[in-house]
């Protein structure tokens, strides 16, 4: 089962490349923001899976909980800022 968790972690880590591509080449700033949000959500899953890999799930699950709330606050703050700025690109 540990090998399966390692394979799943590596699969999600490969999926980060799609978000990084969208952040680098996204035409508008909103594309970049949504790519960053996708990285945040995938990072929660990677944190929990790392907890299962190292057998320290009771510690890593708290880290993932805090990271999830901070990710949400960051994305909403970005949305409020760019709504006020009338940013097009």
């Amino acid at each position: 089962m540990s090998t399966f968790f390692l394979a799943l972690t590596l699969f999600i880590a490969v999926l980060f490349a799609a978000s990084v591509y969208r952040i680098v080449t996204g035409p508008t700033v909103f594309d970049r923001a949504i790519g960053a949000g996708l990285i945040g959500t995938n990072a929660i899953l990677v944190l929990v899976l790392i907890g299962f890999l190292y057998d320290r799930i009771d510690m890593f699950v708290d880290l993932a909980l805090a990271y999830g709330m901070l990710n949400f606050i960051g994305i909403v703050a970005l949305a409020k800022y760019f709504e006020r700025k009338q940013a097009q690109l």
Binding site: R22, F30, I34, V48, M69, F72, I75, V76, L78, E83
Partner: protein, 108 residues
């Protein structure tokens, strides 16, 4: 039996994460990409977290995993909606296929 159900949930979640990332890469404009991220990503994360909680068994960590699942289920569509509303209010145009009329375009 529980083990196989957990593996099935994890594989299904990974498939939905892959669909979400392909949508982020391939779809034509911001609103369609938000559609891919807001739904497929949320469902994939919820499937993976519920599979992990099922594999973990009855413990405090499983309750916390379900708490993370609830937080993702509430905040991920909310964040996507906030970004989409900001884009709409700042006047981002909706993508149209070539040659289609656009007189019902909400963004003007």
């Amino acid at each position: 039996m529980t083990f196989f159900l957990a593996v099935l949930l994890l594989l299904g979640g990974a498939a939905f994460l892959l669909v979400s990332c392909v949508g982020l890469l391939r779809l034509p404009d911001f609103y369609t990409r938000a559609h891919a991220v807001g739904k497929a990503e949320t469902l994939g994360s919820m499937l993976i977290l519920s599979g992990l909680a099922l594999y973990n068994g009855a413990a405090l960590s499983s309750v916390k995993l379900l708490l993370i699942l609830t937080i993702i289920a509430v905040t991920n569509p909310t964040a996507t909606h906030a970004l989409t509303r900001a884009a709409m209010r700042s006047g981002l145009k909706i993508w149209r296929a070539e040659g289609k009329p656009s007189k019902h375009d909400l963004a003007g």
